[in-house]
Symmetry: C2
DNA sequence: CGTGGTGTCCCCCGATCGTGGGACAAATGA
DNA sequence: TCATTTGTCCCACGATCGGGGGACACCACG
């Protein structure tokens, strides 16, 4: 499909960018990647905005093939799924390197187009394998996330608004609070929640009450 | 207090009973205990009722000092906390040997007077140490339970009825269903739940909604 | 070109919740 | 002994839930 985007492995090298806010961990990750044949680390940064700025400054040909992205949510700094979506659209593959602290965030980034997830607790061999797999166009999932992907079957696909509504509602918000937070009318928020229920019911997991939603949202990784 | 109950270590031996439904695990536990100096295994059984029957048949002097009790909840066979309470009242110390499958049950048995908990995943040395400690009148807790005991501070003490009401209500039952299950009037069940809220509020953890209760009940080990 | 999913909004209505009172007897504990 | 806790029951009222119905526009997939 993306036959237009040229530099997939220019001069036999994959171009990799690393975004990770912890210096030590970043150094570690970078050194592991550098040691890999055919891999060139073209950017190291603390945050996604840094990377975006760097991309804007450089030529299109300098764009990386892969972004190894940490998902630490310390200091209020979070990763914006929309930014990830943009990068993916630009042909950059995304590998999440995470502590799995926030399952919902991992989900969002995955939905934004990331094609791999490794845990920092995984072995170096696993990290390398993940990098190779994602660069090759494949998907890579840590064992820790396997259980959730395995259950993906009986978990219905929710739309963006439905998921946001579920998260808020299942956290204890009233319908009115959900509506306000989403910037829609009460009836609309109600519809979202109703549709979540319908979808789960269609998947053979009827959720009637708010408590059911809370329990399920937790079990299915929508809440922490 | 129990200065009347004589045979605490008659002839230098502690009398121990083992109740565990899995034959292999029971054999293992019994052999570990037998290998201990000064310990005599006087009863092996599959269930608590078996032990009670055996106790009723024998003389008071044959009663054990310690009961090593498994908490497996397979095949619908559960452990009745009231029976445990009775044994404790008779001067028998209780050590729970569990897989920690059901935290609520562990809690109930602890409240019924058990003074020790070991996990089957603990080392043999730990099991032995736990046995000694409990026989000596002390308390023993697996590390796995330590986190919960540590948080015991900001978790208010709930009465039996309050805990039962919380468990049911937080699982999704309506007040009416809780009332029916407990065999009391709607208003009474309402009072129980209200008191749970009051206690948590007094402990600095206000719980206003049903979802709050569900979340907290899960976090505090009242639900699985 | 229709079908389905999505985003948005609207109405009704009975059930349930959350909060505020009050009462009283038994048990517990300081 | 007196205060607290517990178990039990009762009432009222506004907020919220849960289920049902309908509507319409957009967009994508086939």
């Amino acid at each position: 499909m993306d036959s237009g985007s040229a530099n997939e492995a220019g001069a036999g090298h994959w171009r990799v960018a690393v975004v990770e806010d912890h210096l030590l961990q970043r150094r570690g990750l970078v050194s592991v990647l550098r040691a890999q044949r055919g891999v060139r680390v073209v950017h190291e940064g603390e945050s996604l905005p840094d990377l975006v700025g760097w991309l804007a400054a450089g030529s299109a040909a300098s764009a990386p093939d892969l972004l190894a992205l940490d998902l630490h949510v310390d200091r209020g700094l979070s990763v914006d799924p929309d930014v990830v979506r943009g990068l993916v659209r630009d042909g950059i593959k995304v590998l999440v390197v995470s502590e799995m602290t926030s399952l919902p965030l991992v989900r969002q980034v995955l939905r934004a187009g990331a094609t791999g997830v490794v845990s920092k607790r995984d072995s170096i061999a696993d990290v390398v394998a993940a990098t190779r797999t994602v660069l090759g166009g494949g998907r890579w999932m840590t064992r820790e996330l396997g259980e959730f992907l395995a259950r993906e079957g009986d978990r219905p696909a929710l739309s963006d608004q439905e998921e946001r509504a579920l998260v808020l509602y299942a956290s204890g918000s009233t319908i009115d609070q959900v509506a306000t937070a989403l910037g829609v009318k009460r009836e609309t928020a109600k519809t979202y929640v109703d549709r979540v229920k319908s979808k789960y019911a269609a998947a053979g997991r009827p959720l009637r009450t708010k408590v059911d939603l809370a329990r399920t949202a937790l079990a299915d990784g929508y809440l922490d």
